[in-house]
Symmetry: C2
Subunit: 317 residues, 2 copies
């Protein structure tokens, strides 16, 4: 029997699993990333997690690692990554040298898409988009059952598609990216701006007057307490997300769209206005048929995604 | 030797060719569509053009027909098509019955993409987008050398991706579709609005005071005569087109984008601000590498596209 190691490298934690080819998790370890300790310390920590799940008695056919981008996929290098403070780390070669096992690097959103396609909400849907709504917004594209990376490994940067060129400035420097409107950060920033202008809301009490503490989570709490301003903010966030998804539907006409990421846990607060926006805006013959579903793999999406990347690579051989 | 018949069915003309498998055109006929005469008359006219290129001595392995949408690709039916005033015409079966030759229906933008990929500007680029900027804006997507139709045959409706939800109303009923800003119709409408508000321009003289006569062509003439308003209108049109293309680049990261359609003949008036917009807005590592080129097949793009659709279908067998 063959086994695979999957690593989910994130800005806050490193999760590593040993799994069989069916995605059954045999062992699982998790460590804080502690990126501030520098890249060498983090690389050592990744190796340690692999040693912890490594079983010398088992035939391990590959290691997969999902990482925040930008990446050089061809050469297996993590480029300048703000989340990790890494600078050109050839992580694929480092792990292959250490363990003597073929290693595959993939960006986290693509890996998550591969994981949901193979083991999660997307089973059987050969053309799907996985969208993660979190601090930022990313996406992974599955076409004909395989990760679509684009010609230069950039595909899936849905967060930086522009839905209003006069919109708020985004972390990337552009105006009106989907991410600037509908990510957790975008939502919080838009809310803070309104609160600074004096809009009425219980949010001020929730953050004890310190508006810089407002997050998507604060807005969720306030909305669930019936705060009208917070409800309106979720309404607009769902509407904007719906515009981004309308563009995906009209341009790529996928069979399924899977929504994951921390902000998506707000559930119907986000999903209800999002669905309304799509129904209002997208081409009916595609919009009425596309399945829009929440992600199914939860905290394992990153590691099972990395496992799926390895399986896909082995199948292609 | 094998031959194929390709039909380009448009709102103003029907062009039909006989070609070999390498896209060499053996015979070519063209007729006015005269859609006002009703669908039966147009169907008869299509058959006549096929009879004119048909050579009984040759082994004809397929007929391809490119048509404006919406289409039911699976069943080979042209649905309610405003350009043709057709209503559920099973054109594939009609032609197969008449000629006893396997027939393939494809939407015109997909066919054009297939044609440019196989015989035109896109030779060798296995992931490309063909964008037609004309009365409307459409696109065809080639992924891994094949037409990507999406899960419900809708893929490629780039003209109806939203680039500003507060933008002008589009023919489809939505606000701020790319088509409402950057198609020939969108450009003319935006210009007429400004002219009605009293902006200074030689356009009034060019249309002898009748603003409803303003078209993209009028704006081209005026711009080439140095009219500042007309130049600014092309500037904004290129900028908007660049936003739509930025979204394509950031989301799908194609190897090449091919621009065709009547409005694209304005050349640098459109291309220069479009390139500037992309350079300013799109993710640099993809935008700096994507090849953006004009279409190469000219008036034969529709017929050679239909030929390409047949070849692709035969190759898949």
């Amino acid at each position: 029997m063959s086994y695979i190691i999957g690593i989910d490298l994130g800005g806050t934690k490193i999760a590593t699993i040993l799994s069989d080819m069916q995605g059954n998790i045999i062992k699982r370890v998790e460590e804080a990333t502690n990126a501030h300790e520098g890249q060498d310390a983090v690389i050592e920590r990744i190796k340690e997690t692999v040693y912890k799940v490594l079983d010398p008695g088992k035939d391990i056919v590959g290691i997969g690692i999902g990482s925040p981008g930008p990446l050089d996929l061809e050469n297996g290098v993590v480029l300048k990554t703000p989340n990790l403070k890494w600078d050109n780390v050839p992580i694929r070669d480092i792990l292959e040298e250490e363990f003597g096992i073929t290693t595959y690097l993939e960006n986290d959103a693509n890996a998550a898409a591969a994981g949901e396609y193979r083991f999660g909400a997307g089973k059987g849907a050969r053309n799907l988009i996985y969208i993660t709504v979190s601090t930022g917004i990313g996406s992974g594209i599955i076409i004909e059952g395989k990760v679509y990376r684009g010609a230069h490994g950039i595909a899936g940067e849905l967060g930086h598609t522009i839905i209003d060129p006069n919109g708020p400035i985004c972390g990337c420097g552009q105006h009106g990216c989907l991410e600037a409107f509908a990510s957790g950060t975008g939502l919080a920033r838009r809310a803070i701006l309104e609160l600074q202008l004096g809009v009425e809301s219980i949010i001020r009490e929730l953050v004890e007057g310190d508006l810089q503490k407002v997050t998507a989570r604060t807005l969720e709490d306030a909305a669930l307490k019936g705060d009208e301003f917070a409800r309106n903010m979720w309404e607009s966030t769902g509407d904007y997300l719906g515009i981004g998804m309308t563009n995906v539907i009209n341009f790529l006409d996928p069979e399924m769209i899977i929504i994951g990421g921390g902000v998506s846990k707000a559930g119907e607060l986000l999903f209800e206005p999002m669905r309304r926006s799509i129904k209002k805006r997208a081409i009916e013959s595609a919009a009425s048929k596309v399945k829009i579903v929440p992600a199914a793999l939860g905290k394992d999406v990153g590691t099972l995604g990395a496992i799926s990347v390895v399986i896909e690579a082995l199948e292609a051989k």
